[in-house]
């Protein structure tokens, strides 16, 4: 009989301990503003994911350490590992949703697409900084989704402006060949409509070079085609291991590297470094500065790295993607601060932060206050325009580091905006029962 008692005791013990373990984990609520970060430090995209995850984490930690949070309320930061996998991302979202997050950063276009319909229902705003669905820049259709400072379509238009400038005007583009080397996924195909429209208008030829996700590191055949077609410029819309491979292949096949321009997600330090010294001249769009020459980065070093609160290697502080992660956290922090100002509350909710994001106005003075002069361009989000079509610049790799941008370029808003509104309408039409905007506008 003792065996039976033992078994019963073991089963009872297991049940009790499991409940005891599960209960605190699911009902954990600390004082403060809860900001979950969906990050990926594992998997095929970890190379790009780690600097971003650390950048987001370290900036918010700096605010906690230096200012005691935002408006005196500490930020509760929690990371959830998605591995850039949609399934895991949705699981992460479910696990953080119960703890009243004020904003969710999916950091993957796939996960963003899943969360867009959920945002309005769960009343949690989604901040997809310069990724996700371009059409979600239309605040009328997507009141809960934000993609500042620019969309992929803005980026593609800046690329065309940039090559026109180098050729000596838009009229010189006629007869040129432009290649789009892109990941064969929704993310990679995003710039196609804008580039097609501009190609027709300015008379250049657009050639598409799709790279399937499983062939990211095996681009030999694609580059054979590129060598045959001899495009004058290449726009690179890749992510993860695809970017360093593209840079390496360009050098190997003798493509003039200064004529290859990446979107901002193809502008990581590791992406360019893969090409060695020959990669000098490779360009990428960016909306944030690289390097450590900004007062707020010194604060991050003092308050986070010196105290051993960061996992990021010290010598890589100032990497383009690390800084971009900090830029993302700056947007979160400013949205929370704006929400506190509007509502007068110190502990804000997701609904308040949605209003905060909609009234986000980061002026030149505010940038100077935060120690970010020259790091980013002023930013203004409105109820209608959740992206803002802000200025970006073309950063250049000098063989060692990215140059900090000087000449910020305005996207062709007049071309991009109608496309966004049309795409948003199409999205709502394709989803019968898409809720009409009921949220009032503050500005």
């Amino acid at each position: 009989m003792s065996l039976r008692h033992l078994t019963i005791a073991a089963i009872a013990g297991a049940i009790v301990s499991t409940t005891a373990l599960v209960a605190p984990a699911s009902a954990q609520t600390q004082e403060g503003i809860y900001v979950p970060l969906l990050t990926y430090r594992t998997g095929a995209f970890a190379g790009s994911g780690i600097p971003i995850a650390d950048g987001m984490h370290d900036y918010l930690t700096m605010l906690n350490e230096r200012d005691g949070g935002i408006g005196g309320v500490p930020i509760v930061i929690e990371e959830c590992e998605t591995g850039y996998d949609t399934k895991r991302g949705v699981e992460c979202y479910e696990s953080v949703r119960a703890k009243n997050p004020v904003v969710v950063n999916p950091y993957s276009t796939g996960i963003t697409l899943q969360l867009i319909p959920r945002a309005a229902v769960d009343r949690i705003p989604v901040l997809s900084m310069a990724y996700g669905l371009s059409a979600s820049a239309d605040g009328e259709t997507f009141p809960w989704v934000f993609n500042p400072p620019v969309t992929y379509w803005d980026g593609a238009s800046v690329f065309v402006k940039h090559i026109a400038e180098r050729e000596g005007g838009f009229e010189s583009l006629a007869g040129k060949t432009v290649g789009l080397l892109h990941l064969d996924a929704p993310y990679g195909r995003e710039p196609i409509p804008v580039l097609e429209a501009l190609a027709e208008e300015h008379g250049f030829e657009l050639k598409l070079y799709p790279v399937a996700a499983q062939d990211m590191q095996n681009q030999g055949s694609v580059w054979l085609n590129i060598r045959r077609d001899r495009p004058d410029y290449i726009y690179l819309q890749g992510w993860g291991a695809m970017n360093p491979t593209a840079v390496r292949e360009a050098i190997r096949t003798g493509f003039p590297i200064e004529n290859m321009i990446g979107v901002w997600w193809a502008g990581g330090d590791e992406d360019a470094r893969a090409g060695g010294a020959d990669a000098a001249g490779y360009k990428a769009l960016s909306f944030n500065g690289a390097g450590t020459d900004f007062p707020f980065i010194q604060d991050v070093i003092t308050h986070v790295h010196d105290k051993g609160l960061s996992q990021f290697p010290r010598e890589r502080i100032g990497d383009m993607l690390y800084n971009r992660g900090m830029y993302n956290s700056m947007l979160i922090a400013e949205a929370i601060r704006t929400a506190q100002e509007i509502t007068g509350k110190s502990v804000v909710t997701g609904e308040d932060v949605r209003r905060g994001l909609e009234n986000l106005n980061v002026t030149e003075e505010r940038l100077a206050e935060m120690g970010m002069t020259g790091f980013a361009a002023p930013l203004d989000v409105t109820c209608e325009n959740h992206s803002g079509n802000h200025d970006v610049f073309v950063a250049e790799w000098d063989g060692e580091k990215w140059t900090v941008g000087q000449d910020w370029t305005e996207p062709m808003t007049e071309r991009v905006r109608p496309l966004i509104l049309q795409a948003a309408q199409d999205y709502a039409a394709a989803n019968p029962g898409w809720p009409a905007r009921t949220e009032t506008c503050d500005n």
């Binding site: 065996l3 039976r4 373990l21 599960v22 605190p24 984990a25 699911s26 990050t39 430090r41 594992t42 995850a53 929690e78 990371e79 959830c80 590992e81 591995g83 949609t86 399934k87 949705v90 699981e91 479910e94 696990s95 949703r97 119960a98 276009t109 796939g110 697409l113 899943q114 319909p117 959920r118 309005a120 229902v121 669905l133 371009s134 059409a135 064969d184 996924a185 929704p186 195909r189 409509p193 399937a212 996700a213 499983q214 996992q311 795409a423 199409d426 999205y427 394709a430 989803n431 019968p432 029962g433």
Partner: protein, 361 residues
């Protein structure tokens, strides 16, 4: 002592051939089903949405693959793609005929993946084993390419994704963003129970015995009058039906939307691991394998930080992820060494021991 058959007399052939010959088994199944429905009412959103709904959907997909690999002995690596066929077929049907109930379309979409499965199953008449696996790999890559490259399949959506529109059942929303986890869970549970019952009848009946005969020795099966063409293609059709329905449920009752790369080769391997761990040729093994492969990492993600925190060790999200990989990997190897026939065999041994306990002689 509790679990024994003494005193239960089988007085008819039907009783002797029953799937659950023991009264205790029947009671157990009834209790499990009742508990599963109760979970829909009392469970938290996280439990339903992130644990139970995916578990049931993967179980159904594993049952589908088990029909092919476990019962008919035909190795397939195209499961992910066949799930995709179900999902895209359901999406096209739903958007083309929105007035028909979504549950009907989910069940119908399986027929489309069954047709595609039969087509890609044709080589199975000539080739076997690993060579057949390579042939189904072609299905995996071709179909995934189609989901990405044929815009008609996703209604020319600019983001290339398919999304679940709002639909209702008895006035309650079950797909789309406003559908509650409870409603979706109850639909998934009912469908999975119904389809498992169907699968159970299939594998215990004439068709299932044909599959097993083909699996054990196809020449002997042919000699006793089983037509390999019919049996093998039937296995592909039935398997793909279940897998396709699971795919449609995954997109419409769990994710709410999907991109083409959800149905990649990883998904195929994921489900293949489930049936290998759970037990080839066993329905309960499909459920056990899905539970181990899918729920164990989630459980570890909750339990590991809870174990280390009292000791003042805070582990990062990425470390937990690495630990999950290592522990799950180690467990898979452990189970394969200790019990190569899967969890279902362990379960069977356990039941056998329980039958004679406490007097094993």
């Amino acid at each position: 002592m509790i679990y024994r058959e003494s005193g239960q007399y089988k007085t008819s052939y039907e009783a002797d051939r029953a799937v659950f010959p023991l009264r205790q088994d029947r009671i157990g199944i009834a209790v499990i089903i009742a508990a599963a429905y109760a979970a829909g009412v009392f469970g938290s959103d996280f439990l339903l949405q992130a644990v139970l709904i995916p578990f049931l959907i993967f179980s159904l997909a594993a049952i589908g693959l088990n029909i092919l690999v476990g019962y008919a002995g035909l190795l397939s690596l195209g499961t992910g793609a066949f799930m995709g066929v179900g999902a895209y077929a359901c999406y096209k049907l739903m958007t083309a005929f929105p007035e028909v109930n979504v549950v009907v379309w989910i069940l119908m979409s399986g027929f489309f993946s069954a047709a595609v499965g039969v087509f890609f199953g044709l080589p199975s008449l000539r080739i076997k084993g690993f060579y057949l696996a390579v042939a189904t790999l072609a299905a995996q890559f071709f179909l995934q390419w189609s989901f990405n490259r044929i815009p008609w399949l996703y209604n020319y959506n600019i983001s290339g994704a398919i999304e679940a529109p709002l639909t209702t059942l008895f006035g309650v929303p079950i797909t789309g963003a406003t559908a509650t986890a409870e409603a979706r869970y109850l639909v998934v549970l009912t469908l999975v129970i119904g389809l498992t019952w169907l699968a159970s009848n299939l594998v215990h009946g004439r068709i299932g015995r044909q599959w097993m005969a083909i699996r054990d020795m196809d020449i002997a099966a042919e000699l006793i009058g089983i037509r390999p063409l019919h049996a093998k293609l039937m296995a592909f059709a039935c398997s793909s039906y279940f897998v396709g329905v699971a795919g449609a449920m995954m997109v419409f009752l769990w994710y709410g939307g999907a991109e083409y790369n959800v149905f990649n080769i990883d998904q195929s391997f994921f489900i293949l691991f489930m049936i290998i761990i759970g037990g080839l040729g066993s329905l309960i093994g499909s459920f056990m394998g899905a539970a181990l492969i899918f729920m164990l990492p989630i459980g570890l993600g909750i339990v590991l930080p809870a174990i280390t925190e009292p000791f003042g060790i805070t582990v990062g999200a990425a470390t937990i992820e690495h630990l999950r990989f290592m522990i799950v990997g180690a467990l898979i190897i452990f189970f394969l060494i200790v019990e190569p026939h899967g969890l279902a065999r362990l379960w069977q041994i356990g039941k056998q021991k329980l039958r004679v306990w406490p007097f094993p002689y």
